[in-house]
């Protein structure tokens, strides 16, 4: 406290004695601001911008032995091959299917969960629930795959439970195509629903309490308050999340699928990213994989730009 007051009086003194000069000196040091951005700018140049030039590989038949400058240019050959490839259409469909299901469920479930959590009045209980539901978000898909492979095995605890309670045959969760899809979506929702409620909880805490008091005076019960007050207050942020998610429809979570899939269910489980990894790094088809990646990046870029524009127009959202 004392120190604070001292600082205050010093400020006062310097304000009076040197009105403009010192102030200006403080503001006019852009060189140090440049210097502060410099390390980040250099790293981004090396690790983001230089690889971008590697995209040209998509128009070559890149051979590691020949290098970037001596490999043969082949124009759109890889893109044509991509489009004539039935398997590529299949994995694009898989990617869209996974991504869209996750986007929809990861919006609706956290929304409902946030509303219900908002009704928990014991603060201790509320905080405990929050702590527990956020946790799976921080565990990696490697850890979770280990757990899922264990509990979803045919002799695992989930199948034991289903067999003893419902008397059904063990389900091959990770080895059967349709069940695999279900497992991927369900486990993703399980991992992320808690964390995704944070933003809704923030929006809820931002609602002016006097609105509720006014509603109460007018005779609205809790149900009516929720329908006419709480939900409308959450809609704008839900719209922002939904529009921003648009940019992600070609991202179906590589980590999750890569750690859970297997050759048995490639047909139903393969996505663009896992395909690029196998074709590119494992089979050494650098140019083809880069072409597929470029295709994905361009579509994503367009969608992201569109979605940010929509989010700005309808909800006034800006990232910075």
């Amino acid at each position: 406290m004392e120190a604070n007051m001292e600082v205050n009086s010093i400020q006062q003194a310097s304000l009076e004695s040197q009105p403009g000069k010192k102030r200006k000196k403080g503001f006019n040091q852009p060189w140090i601001l440049h210097l502060m951005v410099l390390p980040a700018a250099i790293m981004v140049f090396i690790f983001s911008y230089i690889p971008m030039s590697g995209i040209l590989m998509a128009f070559q038949d890149y051979k590691p032995a020949l290098g970037f400058f001596d490999s043969e240019w082949v124009g759109l050959k890889h893109f044509r091959y991509m489009w004539e490839n039935d398997y590529f259409l299949q994995i694009t469909w898989n990617t869209l299917f996974f991504a869209c299901s996750k986007i929809v469920l990861n919006l609706i479930i956290p929304f409902i969960f946030a509303l219900l959590l908002n009704e928990v009045r014991r603060m201790g209980l509320k905080r405990t629930i929050q702590t527990l539901v956020y946790l799976p978000h921080f565990l990696s898909w490697v850890t979770l795959s280990g757990i899922l492979i264990d509990i979803l095995a045919q002799t695992g605890i989930v199948n034991q439970f289903l067999t003893s309670v419902f008397g059904i045959k063990p389900i091959f969760f990770l080895g059967d195509g349709n069940w695999f899809r279900f497992t991927i979506i369900a486990s993703d929702v399980w991992k992320e629903f808690g964390f995704n409620t944070i933003i809704f909880l923030a929006a809820l805490s931002g609602i002016n309490p006097s609105l509720y008091e006014a509603a109460e005076v007018d005779g609205a019960g809790r149900w009516k308050q929720t329908i006419y007050l709480t939900i409308p207050a959450l809609i704008p942020i839900a719209i922002v999340i939904a529009t921003l998610a648009l940019g992600n429809v070609l991202n179906a979570n590589f980590d999750q699928i890569f750690n859970l899939y297997s050759p048995l269910i490639y047909q139903q489980g393969d996505i663009i990213d896992t395909f690029v990894y196998r074709e590119g790094l494992l089979s050494g088809q650098f140019s083809f994989a880069t072409a597929v990646n470029l295709f994905k990046s361009v579509i994503s870029l367009v969608l992201i730009v569109v979605s940010y524009r929509l989010a700005y127009r309808f909800a006034g959202y800006r990232i910075f």
Partner: protein, 290 residues
């Protein structure tokens, strides 16, 4: 007062119970795994362990900690997490401070911002990144795991949005006292930005600890593999054996695998409770803007 009416009370009780069950469900799989790891291997392999250890033993943990590969990987991960988090924190907060200034003060601000944001929207992808690391001679080194992801544009934006909420009077006072930008940043901005810095530190730590894929593609030697990559190879191998219903023979390793998975998740379980109270402030101020 709606919360004193009987229907609401009934709803409230049901709601509390349901949400409690739901939240326990988030922890249950991990808890089950812990119990498997604490049981002796015969009942664990027979699938008898549910929510209580059978024939309690620490044998699996003893074996795990006698495994040299596991320990070296653990050490690599510790190094990577500490070094990677510290470096990223320095580079990103310093850059975010400069970028949080208004155009009036820092003319080039918007140019830099777009320069960074473009990398969020568009990237070269897997293969060009791989070739770059190869050409830079970073293959098989710790730096290949730290440097490419050092600048996280999302974190910079989170930080700079927080920095902008810091009252201008504070920094003006500092300038008047003769502090430059750097001193103001260290003495004023960092201390008042604790929630967001704690949040980002947690994100960075968790990110480094959990990252496995760069280890798969950039690291060749077994003694340089980070733990997550090491675990990934174990899990994938186990996965392969499980896919063939006939070859469930490898199951004798089940308790050991459970103990390894649990140990690899442990640091997160330990750090998370201390930092999670900052989340709502940290993330929200960065994400929701007026």
């Amino acid at each position: 007062m709606y919360h004193k009416t009987i229907p609401y009370r009934i709803f409230s009780i049901i709601n509390n119970v349901c949400l409690t069950i739901l939240s326990v469900l988030c922890l249950l799989p991990l808890y089950h795994l812990l119990m498997v790891s604490l049981s002796s291997s015969a009942p664990a392999n027979a699938g008898l362990v549910t929510f209580w250890p059978i024939d309690f033993t620490l044998e699996a943990y003893a074996k795990t900690f006698n495994n040299v590969n596991f320990l070296t990987s653990l050490w690599v991960s510790v190094q990577r997490t500490i070094l990677g988090t510290a470096l990223a924190l320095i580079v990103n907060t310093v850059a975010a401070y400069a970028l949080s200034k208004e155009t009036r003060v820092f003319r080039a601000r918007n140019v830099y911002l777009w320069y960074f944001v473009v990398t969020m929207l568009f990237s070269g992808g897997l293969i060009p990144g791989y070739i770059l690391i190869l050409k830079l001679g970073l293959m098989n080194s710790l730096m290949a795991l730290i440097l490419p992801g050092l600048v996280a544009v999302f974190n910079i934006i989170l930080l700079l949005n927080f920095f902008r909420t810091v009252p201008k009077d504070l920094e003006e006072a500092a300038f008047i006292d003769g502090a430059g930008h750097f001193k103001t940043f260290v003495k004023i901005y960092l201390p008042v930005s604790l929630p967001v810095i704690a949040t980002i530190s947690l994100f960075l730590m968790v990110g480094h600890w959990n990252a496995y894929f760069d280890g798969i593609i950039y690291i060749r030697d077994a003694d340089k593999l980070p733990l997550a990559t090491f675990m990934q190879t174990i899990i994938v191998q186990a996965d392969m054996s499980k896919l063939d219903p006939a070859a469930v023979a490898n199951l004798s390793q089940r308790t050991i695998r459970a103990s390894q998975i649990f140990i690899s998740a442990l640091p997160i379980l330990l750090v998370y409770p201390f930092l999670q109270r900052f989340f709502v402030t940290g993330i929200v101020v960065g994400a929701v803007k007026e």
